[in-house]
Amino acid sequence: MLYWLSNGCIALGLFFWFWGTFPLLGRRSVLFKLHSLSIADTLGSLAIMVGLLIKIPREWPLLVLALFSLLVWNTVLGYVLAYCSSVEMDHD
């Protein structure tokens, strides 16, 4: 049961990674790509980490730290990138 749960989480995360990263190759605006990247990099990586946490709970301190820093830094990076690139667009 736990085996399938953890593998399911990891598979979901990997699926999010692929599906959210493919729009990078397209020709949309930076902000649109940021939306899909926030799915891929934040939510996908969170799912992978949770999967690992279920699989190997022994290393929980490291994984919890990784979960936390993923959650905070990735979203803040999304905001900073959105802010910097949009200010440039106003300027043009």
């Binding site: 939510l43 730290l65 959650l71 803040v76 905001y79």
Partner: protein
């Protein structure tokens, strides 16, 4: 009060990183947390913090839900709205607000106007409402 939260936060990171509860390590952790400089923090009451943390925990399933929505139905339209910041927010709470809005995949804070507005970029299935 916020000073204590700050110290506990730093110690927590230290113990998660080292995962070692020997007396030497605890002493090193406490000394380092006390020595690191502390900026001036405006304090929010603990009630506000508790609500923020609850919102953060609620936002995670919400963002997975939105991810599946985007997955199932293509969201091709983009638009920008503005949202008012609640009155007298401290910088910590503004940070938490930005984090919560940006975490959900359909919305990204694009600009924070110090006069009290968030500029939010949305994607949606239909054209601008």
């Amino acid at each position: 009060m916020t000073g204590y939260i700050n110290l506990v936060f730093r110690l927590g990171i230290w113990f998660l990183l080292t995962a070692n509860f020997s007396p030497t390590n605890i002493a090193i952790g406490i000394i380092v947390t006390l020595l690191l400089p502390r900026g001036p923090v405006m304090s929010s009451p603990p009630r506000v913090w508790a609500k923020g943390i609850k919102d953060l925990l609620l936002a995670i399933p919400q963002s997975y839900l939105e991810a599946f929505e985007i997955l199932l139905f293509p969201h091709r339209h983009e638009y920008v709205t503005r949202k008012r910041v609640p009155h007298r927010r401290t910088s910590g709470m503004v940070f938490l607000d930005v984090l919560l809005i940006t975490l959900t995949p359909k919305t990204i804070v694009q600009n924070y106007d110090p006069e009290g507005w968030y500029e939010i970029h949305h994607i949606s299935r239909k054209a601008e409402p």
